[in-house]
C-alpha cells in the first residue's frame, strides 16, 4: 500500500524540513483536508487514498522555509511550472512523489448518490469506491467518478520527485484524448457557445475561490480583479463583469495552466471554469508545441518569442 510508503518517506525527511504537507480526513467521509506534519507523532494522522484530490503545491510559493510535500503525477506539473517561472527554490523543497491510478471527484460522487449525506467511505481492491449513506451502500467505479483530468492523464508518475512512494506507472491513455473535449466543444456554433458561457457564468458569485485555489495565480492579493486604479472590474454584479473576471483568469494563465482542475473543483457554484484555460492550452500546443509543467527547463510561450513564428500566419482582412 502506498500509504505505508508515504509515511516511511515522510519519517525519513521530517528531520530535514520544517513541515511536510500531505492529507488527512476532512469533515466527512468524502472530504480530505491538508495536514501539515511537524513532529513524527503527527504522521499517523495522514491518509492516502483517491480522495486526496487537492493540489497541495499551491502552498509552496508562499512558504519560505524548507518543506516536504506529497504529490501525485498531475500535482508535480505545478512544481515543474513553478521551476520554469522561478517561483520556488528547488533546494528548499523535498518532493515525495506517489504514482497515481486516479482520484475521485467529490462532485461526481455526490451527483451519483443524489447528494445524500455520507456516513462512510471505503475502497475495494477492484478500483471501486463504496459510499455508505442512510439509503444503503453504493459501489462506484473510480474510473466513472474521476475528475476529467484523470480520464486522459498522461503523467500518473510525478515528473519531479526526490522519493517515489511506489513503482512508476506508465499512462495508457492516448495523447490525443487530452484535448478532445475542447475540440468537441469548439464545434458548437458561436451562439451556442455564447449561450453556454452566459448560463454558466451567470451563476458566478465572484468569491474568487477559483483564483485563490489556483496554484498558478500567483498575484493573489494584487489581482487586477480587485484593484481600484485601474478599475478593471466594476462592483456591479452583471454578467459582463463576471465574464471579464474569467477572461482575466484565463488570459493570465495562458501557457501556464497545468490543468490541475483546482479552479473547477473548488467552485461552489459548479462552474466549469477550467475549460477556458484548457482551450488556451490546446492552442499553445498547436502553435508552439508547448505543454505547461512537463519540462523543468522549458519556457512559458508568452514569456518568449521567435522572430519567425512558424505557425502564426498573418491575418488577412
Amino acid at each position: 500500500m502506498s500509504t505505508e510508503k508515504v509515511k516511511e518517506a515522510i519519517a525519513k525527511i521530517l528531520p530535514d524540513v520544517e513541515t511536510v504537507i500531505c492529507y488527512q480526513q476532512g469533515f466527512d467521509g468524502l472530504h480530505t483536508t491538508p495536514l501539515f506534519i511537524k513532529i513524527p507523532e503527527e504522521i499517523n494522522g495522514l491518509i492516502w487514498n483517491p480522495l486526496c484530490v487537492q493540489n497541495l503545491t499551491s502552498y509552496l510559493p508562499s512558504i519560505k522555509k524548507k518543506v516536504g510535500i506529497v504529490v501525485k503525477g498531475c500535482d508535480s506539473r505545478t512544481i515543474v511550472q513553478y521551476l520554469q517561472e522561478g517561483l520556488i527554490d528547488r533546494e528548499k523543497i523535498v518532493i515525495i512523489g506517489v504514482p497515481c491510478t486516479g482520484v475521485v471527484s467529490v462532485k461526481k460522487v455526490l451527483r451519483e448518490i443524489g447528494h445524500q449525506p455520507v456516513a462512510g467511505v471505503a475502497f475495494d481492491d477492484n478500483g471501486n469506491i463504496v459510499v455508505k449513506t442512510s439509503k444503503g451502500d453504493r459501489t462506484l467505479a473510480i474510473a466513472d467518478v474521476c475528475p476529467d483530468k484523470c480520464a486522459t492523464c498522461q503523467y500518473p508518475t510525478p515528473i519531479v520527485y526526490d522519493y517515489l512512494a511506489g513503482d512508476p506507472i506508465k499512462s495508457d491513455k492516448p495523447k490525443e484524448s487530452v484535448h478532445e473535449d475542447i475540440r468537441q466543444f469548439d464545434e458548437k456554433t458561436l451562439e451556442e457557445k455564447k449561450a453556454y458561457w452566459e448560463k454558466e457564468l451567470e451563476k458566478c458569485i465572484r468569491c474568487y475561490a477559483c483564483r485563490n485555489a489556483c496554484p498558478m495565480c500567483i498575484c493573489q492579493d494584487s489581482c487586477i480583479a480587485e484593484t481600484r486604479e485601474p478599475h478593471w472590474i466594476s462592483q456591479k454584479l452583471s454578467l459582463t463583469e463576471k465574464f471579464m473576471f474569467h477572461m482575466i483568469h484565463a488570459v493570465h494563465l495562458a501557457g501556464r495552466c497545468v490543468e490541475c482542475g483546482e479552479c473547477e473543483r473548488v467552485c461552489p457554484m459548479d462552474i466549469p471554469v477550467a475549460k477556458l484555460k484548457k482551450k488556451i492550452n490546446t492552442e499553445m500546443k498547436e502553435l508552439f508545441n508547448y505543454e505547461p509543467g512537463v519540462d523543468p527547463d522549458g519556457k512559458p510561450p508568452m514569456y518568449t518569442f521567435n522572430v519567425d513564428e512558424v505557425k502564426i500566419k498573418e491575418h488577412k482582412l
Binding site: I182, F185, D186, L190, E191, E192, K193, K194, A195, Y196, W197, E198, E202, K203, I205, W232, L237, S238, L239, T240, F243, M244, M247, I248, A250, V251, A254, G255, L276, K279, I280, E283, M284, L287, P301, M302, F305, N306, V307, E309, I312, E314, H315, L317
Partner: protein, 143 residues
C-alpha cells in the same frame, strides 16, 4: 463618413506610437478618405496592448477592435511586437470559444510611411464590422 450612411459602429483601435499612429497620421495628412467609426487610442508599443484591453472593449460596447504596431523586426523597442504577436494570436483563438466572432478583432502591422496601407486596413476592417453588425455581448443580469 461611415460605411453605411448615418450608422456608425464603435471600433476601437490601439496603435503604437512609433509606426501605426504615424501611418494613420500620414493617411490623414495625405487626405486619404477613411471611414470614421474608428476611435484611436495611442499606446507606446503594440507590446503594451494587454489582450484584456481587447476583451474589455468588446465586452463593454465596442463592435470591433483593431490593434496595429510596427512590422516585425521594426519595433521601436526591438521585441514589443514579437510578444504582442503571440498574445494577440492567443486571444484571437480564444474569442470564438466564448462565443465572440474572432473577425471582430484584427491585429496587423503598419509603418509610419504606409499611409495608403493604413487607409486600406481601416476601410476593410470597418467594412467587415459593418457586415457583422453591432455586437451585443453586454447583457445586464442581476443574480
Amino acid at each position: 463618413m461611415s460605411v453605411v450612411a448615418g450608422k456608425e459602429l464603435r471600433i476601437v483601435g490601439f496603435l503604437c506610437n512609433w509606426c501605426s499612429y504615424g501611418g494613420a497620421d500620414t493617411a490623414g495628412v495625405s487626405r486619404f478618405k477613411q471611414p470614421t467609426d474608428l476611435r484611436i487610442i495611442k499606446v507606446p508599443c503594440s507590446g503594451r496592448v494587454d489582450p484584456l484591453f481587447v476583451v474589455r472593449a468588446l465586452l463593454t460596447g465596442a463592435d470591433g477592435v483593431l490593434v496595429s504596431g510596427c512590422h516585425p523586426r521594426d519595433c521601436h523597442y526591438t521585441d514589443g511586437n514579437f510578444y504582442a504577436r503571440r498574445r494577440l494570436e492567443m486571444l484571437k483563438r480564444l474569442l470564438p470559444f466564448v462565443g465572440i466572432d474572432e473577425r471582430r478583432f484584427h491585429y496587423t502591422w503598419v509603418s509610419a510611411s504606409e499611409g495608403q496601407k493604413w487607409q486600406q486596413v481601416v476601410t476593410d476592417f470597418t467594412n467587415r464590422i459593418h457586415q457583422l453588425g453591432p455586437l451585443h455581448v453586454k447583457k445586464e443580469n442581476e443574480g
